[in-house]
């Protein structure tokens, strides 16, 4: 009982315990902020896969594979799989005029199936908003403008379908959806997080791709004009700055991966006109159809599916599918990967980096143990007479030791609580703090081009908090152990005579 009373009084009577608590607070906050941001970054990276490729991707780059409709149907018939979406991926050069060009990943999609797998429609940026973004207190987001509501609704619809609008008298051009960061409009982004001006939609751009034949040989480049129908923001900078979506049929056509008639190889006769001039080639006998191809089929599993089990199941289904078609590559020539598999090197590196940073900060935090030890050592010296008094009235050595350990525990608890509070405030406002550092001091730490995401993760994780808090309190107790042992070993008479 006396330990509780004295702990309370000691805590509030001097500056020393406040200093110790402050040291613990800073260490706890530092660990928690670092872990939350790094861990949040890692989680975001892992989870972002689902909104980009679903859970598992079957892919054969460049040459692709045929009969994908059948494969998609087989996949969707499985209990573990919710949806499957064929896509075509190709690299290409896009030109927006005015000398603005960019090397991009062109993705051909069927909006319905792609949305079922990735939630693509959610990522469409230009659409009417009913409520402002949390930080847009002035309601300045153009998407809130009632006068533009109709326009943004139309843009959203274009994005939803990717179907060229039929307008009389106009040359219909295919539509594309551009990543929000492709033309580096970050300068137009307000601190509240919205783009102040729709700078891109309804403009035309040229997409240049390099098709290959079935065996992988290069063919003549293809160029086509598209109209930007909308933009998308996945939140992954790497994707938003390098990707544009077009309709699957369009890209298949450009890459010559669409269905084509097969004819007998051999010399082709020339057809001459009445004036003797050649006017064409002789029709050849069609001997079959070369089916359309895609480079990937994306798969979304049921919620909470074990991705490794799902990957195995997808592999099995593909093997069954390949066994039915001679022209489809065997499973061994196909990649069946989860997002984590695809980015294993990067994710592994980030995991290691997170562990390393935590280890280094852990070592730094060890200073709090020595700080508490030093402060407690000094406090025990200062309180020597108190120890003598307690021993004189019958307190045991263990009781005196417990007084100091308990005191360490209290300082740890106070410092840790404050540290968690500080970390919470910093983590939940880290983007605002970062914006302020940028505007007030010109310091920009988080570069989306380096860290993939346009915003810093703001995850405040309960498990991490418990672990860091326990470590904070424990380090204080450890720091208090030696001074506590010293107090317990004090001779009561010497302690009473201490000046």
């Amino acid at each position: 009982m006396y330990q509780a009373l004295l702990t309370r009084r000691y805590l509030t009577s001097k500056v020393m315990p406040l200093l110790a608590s402050a040291a613990v607070m800073l260490c706890v906050a530092m660990e928690l902020i670092t872990w939350s941001v790094m861990g949040g970054f890692l989680n975001q990276l892992i989870n972002s896969g689902r909104s980009l490729i679903g859970d598992v991707e079957i892919s054969r780059p460049n040459t692709g594979f045929a009969h994908y409709e059948e494969l998609t149907a087989m996949l969707e018939a499985d209990d573990m799989i919710v949806a499957a979406a064929p896509t075509v991926d190709a690299y290409g050069l896009i030109s927006l005029g005015g000398g603005r060009t960019s090397f991009c990943n062109i993705k051909g999609i069927e909006p319905d199936s792609f949305d079922a797998v990735t939630g693509y429609r959610e990522s469409l940026y230009w659409k009417p908003l009913d409520e402002p973004l949390p930080k847009d207190e002035a309601r300045e987001d153009p998407r809130l403008d009632p006068d533009q509501r109709e326009l943004f609704a139309a843009l959203e619809e274009f994005g939803n379908t990717l179907e060229t609008p039929e307008q009389e008298g106009l040359t219909a051009k295919p539509l594309t959806i551009l990543g929000l960061e492709v033309f580096s409009k970050r300068g137009l982004r307000t601190p509240a997080g919205f783009v102040a001006e729709d700078w891109t939609t309804q403009r035309e751009l040229t997409v240049n791709v390099l098709p290959t034949d079935r065996s992988g040989g290069w063919l003549e480049p293809t160029a086509r004009r598209f109209v930007v129908a909308n933009e998308f923001a996945s939140g992954v900078y790497e994707i938003d700055s390098r990707t544009l979506y077009v309709h699957l049929d369009e890209l298949q056509d450009m890459l010559r991966m669409d269905a084509a008639e097969k004819v007998e190889p051999g010399p082709v006769g020339i057809v001459y006109g009445p004036d003797g001039e050649p006017i064409g080639f002789e029709a050849q006998d069609v001997i079959g159809v070369d089916p359309a191809r895609v480079t990937s089929v994306l798969v979304r599993g049921v919620d909470d599916a074990d991705l490794l089990v799902l990957r195995e199941r997808v592999n099995e289904i593909y093997s069954e599918f390949a066994a039915k078609h001679d022209e489809v590559p065997d499973a061994q020539f196909i990649n069946v990967l989860t997002w984590e598999d695809r980015n294993a090197t990067l994710i592994g590196a980030i995991k290691k980096e997170t562990a390393l940073v935590l280890f280094i900060f852990g070592i730094i935090s060890l200073t709090s143990v020595f700080l508490v030890l030093a402060i407690f050592w000094s406090m025990v010296s200062e309180r020597t007479k108190d120890v003598g008094i307690l021993r004189a009235i019958g307190a045991s050595r263990l009781g005196v030791a417990w007084l100091w350990i308990r005191y360490g525990l209290a300082i740890g608890a106070v410092g840790t609580t404050l540290g968690i509070g500080l970390a919470y405030v910093v983590i939940t406002n880290i983007n605002a703090i970062h914006d302020w550092l940028g505007s007030a001091l010109g310091i920009s730490i988080w570069d989306p081009a380096v860290y993939y995401f346009t915003t810093i993760p703001e995850d405040f994780d309960a498990t991490k908090t418990i672990i860091v808090a326990s470590a904070g309190v424990l380090s204080c107790v450890i720091g208090a152990l030696v001074p506590a042992a010293r107090a317990a070993r004090m001779h009561p008479v010497k302690a009473l005579r201490f000046e």
Partner: protein, 241 residues
């Protein structure tokens, strides 16, 4: 009641051994007030510490008995319990805990003796007892004050109240008036004398008080003198005079 027989105590200051007590013996009967009169450095405080189980005599140098109990045979826990239950110390420099109030300082002994649950169970009764003792020493208006807000005499009264809180049969007082003026010291001695007689069973407490002041010693039933670590034969206070 409590006795020491032929005890010695040597302190070591670096490589130098300083004998403080050399075969000292003393005895106090139940209810007796014995004054140990001696000059500064004569070993009287050391004797008191040994009698109160705060320290141990040199190995093999003699025995200290409390009733039938040989303190030399008690382990550390036994001595802790002995100090908690059988003796109450009053020191020259009061030795109050500066962060605690008067009431908390007095209750401290009962907190140490009972543990958290035991204390909380009896808290009401113990607080009443502490308040009544504080009332006897004339500080009921100072319950919430801290030692720094009290005069020397008041502090010593708090120390006396603390020493008596657990109703010990023996009081060991080390120059209780040594740090007070004559008038205040007299008041403190009055309080000690009054509370010595106020035991739960109606008997009076044994009190051994060390002092260098013959006027203080005069208040005792018997006075022994100590010089160079040896206790001289006791005489009644009247004989000493």
């Amino acid at each position: 009641m409590i006795s020491a027989s032929n005890i010695s105590k040597t302190y070591r200051l670096g490589r130098v051994e300083v004998p403080v007590l050399r075969g000292a013996s003393i005895e106090a009967e139940a209810g007796e007030w014995v004054a140990v009169l001696g000059a500064s450095g004569s070993g009287k405080s050391t004797l008191l510490h040994l009698l109160g189980g705060l320290d141990r005599p040199d190995r093999g140098s003699g025995t200290i008995r409390f009733g039938e109990t040989d303190l030399g045979k008690l382990g550390a826990a036994g001595l802790d319990k002995f100090r908690r239950t059988q003796v109450g110390f009053v020191f020259q420099f009061f030795h109050l805990l500066p962060e605690l109030t008067v009431l908390e300082n007095v209750l401290l002994g009962s907190m140490v003796g009972r543990g958290r649950l035991g204390f909380l169970r009896e808290r009401g009764e113990l607080t009443k007892r502490a308040e009544s003792i504080i009332d006897v020493v004339g500080l009921s208006h100072r319950l919430k004050h801290r030692p720094a807000e009290l005069s020397g005499g008041e502090r010593q009264r708090v120390a006396i109240a603390r020493a008596l809180m657990n109703d010990p049969p023996v009081i060991l007082a080390d120059e209780p008036t040594g740090n007070l003026d004559q008038k205040t010291g007299g008041g403190v001695l009055d309080a000690l004398a009054e509370l010595r007689l106020a035991t739960s069973d109606g008997s009076s407490r044994t009190m051994i008080m060390v002092t260098h002041d013959t006027r203080v010693a005069d208040r005792a039933d018997r006075v022994v003198t100590i010089a160079d670590g040896v206790v001289q034969a006791g005489a009644s206070a009247a004989e000493t005079r």
